[in-house]
Symmetry: C2
Subunit: 264 residues, 2 copies
DNA sequence: CTATATATGAACGTTACCGTACGTATAATA
DNA sequence: TATTATACGTACGGTAACGTTCATATATAG
């Protein structure tokens, strides 16, 4: 019996991460690497729930694991001095949490907070180092993600400078929708307002308009995307650009020198 | 006789890049690598002026050179469908233009446009590849920059969500000041308004307020920073965070395996 | 079943910034 | 020197989003 976030309304309260027994591998980095590399990583990975509000680790802290989400949305939050916090980047099954692993730095960047629940594979940096030693395709795939994350970040910088609340909310919902397996997922308007740095009242107003247009339904912490196209019409071009950057990752065939014993 | 941008008011019109004969190496990546690696790169580099308004290359275009600024500010611009453009990232002597070199992709990200004139070393990707083969410290230094660029981008995402025009203008001016050698540099209010995605009228109003406070002087395309501290008081915390990220780069001593014949 | 906490809707005046337009001073050009 | 272009100052009404507060509906807990 597979875990379905839409059928688990109590998930929100289970802040203590729990190990997920049976699951689908949906993380695109893991799906892009060679089967033997995937088998290696899966043998070392621990799959845990991502519970809404869960803080994976704090900014600047030395991190011990990279986290590869299969489902859900985790946001790297910036903590401002006045107490406000806002999203720096959002991560789903297209990527992984712990980007500074790529850069060789020991400290995390940003504070990852789960906004839409799901589940993820935790892999220790020791295991990852070992995997990369054997399977270069692993670091290749992570590096490709680093590039698309850079595109996401740049696009977000521009988007946050120019675009309006409704466009940005629509964009965020579309990204979230891409990162879950169901049209319905757990997400409060409060959550959206916090990641986008706007008032809940503004989000409420935007969502109300989107509901009237038929793009979505909202019921106490659960959104249902009823018409993506309407959402896409309301979103800015930034959505497509970021999606395009992520889309390139899985498909790009890497000239793989992995697994020497399997090399041609 | 060294070239001084503050003494060359006609520079703005010389859109055709010109080779700079005598210059100081101010680029922090180049200054951070081993002397022999620097000597190698300098033997291959071509030093050209960065002229205000110059477009180094266009978004998505295969790029042939990485550009290491010694002086000036170059912005990666996003071109929106409605014709507006806005900054995704700004680059000075702390980094280089052509970040996707790091990621192994052949295409550039964003359209680099010179906002504050200066000069830079152009190094072909072939020469860079060769250098990295011999001197790992080169890729180490570039990778460290990639990390701090990521920090810059994330901080900018958050900043653009939350902070006001005056804070953002102050922050941008401080970054620019860090990237030039003089307190006076060429920069129009129009230029600021375009990179920050706000009206020139808004920039004008902000600058007028900053002038009244004594932070700067403005005279037809030339800014003079007269009191950094006032500017820092008006800027948001994002300035310090980004500066800190860049500051770490030059000083971090890399466990260098470069240049085998010189290894200990 | 009742009480409490949570999520959303809706309203108020306020503020920051917008789009636009026009005037003015300085620099470049003829 | 006269003319044009550029950079900046300023002003107008308009609007998007702000901070705040209160009401309402639904879920959870006792």
């Amino acid at each position: 019996m597979r875990w379905d976030p839409a059928k688990d309304p109590r998930e929100v309260k289970q802040l203590k991460p729990e190990i997920v027994g049976d699951f689908d591998t949906r993380n695109k980095i893991l799906l892009a690497i060679r089967p033997d590399a995937l088998a290696f990583l899966e043998s070392r990975a621990v799959v845990k729930r991502l519970s809404q509000g869960q803080v994976l680790y704090t900014d600047g802290e030395p991190f011990t694991h990279a986290v590869f989400p299969h489902e859900g949305v985790t946001c790297l939050m910036a903590q401002m001095q006045d107490g406000r916090s806002v999203e720096k980047a959002s991560i789903g099954n297209e990527g992984f949490i712990g980007i500074s692993f790529i850069f060789g730095g020991g400290n995390s960047i940003g504070e990852p907070v789960v906004q839409v629940p799901g589940y993820a594979s935790w892999i220790s940096i020791e295991d990852l180092d070992e995997a990369i030693e054997i399977y270069p395709c692993v670091s290749d795939a992570m590096m490709r993600y680093a590039k698309s994350l850079t595109v996401q970040l740049m696009e977000s910088v521009a988007c946050n400078s120019l675009h309006k609340a409704e466009q940005r909310v629509s964009r965020w919902l579309l990204h979230a929708h891409d990162r879950v397996s169901s049209d319905t997922f757990q997400l409060t308007q409060q959550g959206i307002s916090e990641v986008l740095g706007m008032r809940r009242a503004t989000v409420s107003s935007v969502c109300h308009a989107l509901m009237k247009e038929g793009a979505l339904k909202y019921t106490r912490g659960n959104v249902t995307i009823t018409d993506r196209r309407i959402l896409e019409d309301n979103a800015c071009e930034c959505y497509d650009r970021i999606r395009l950057a992520f889309a390139g990752n899985g498909s790009v065939k890497t000239k793989d020198k992995s697994s020497p014993e399997l090399d041609d």
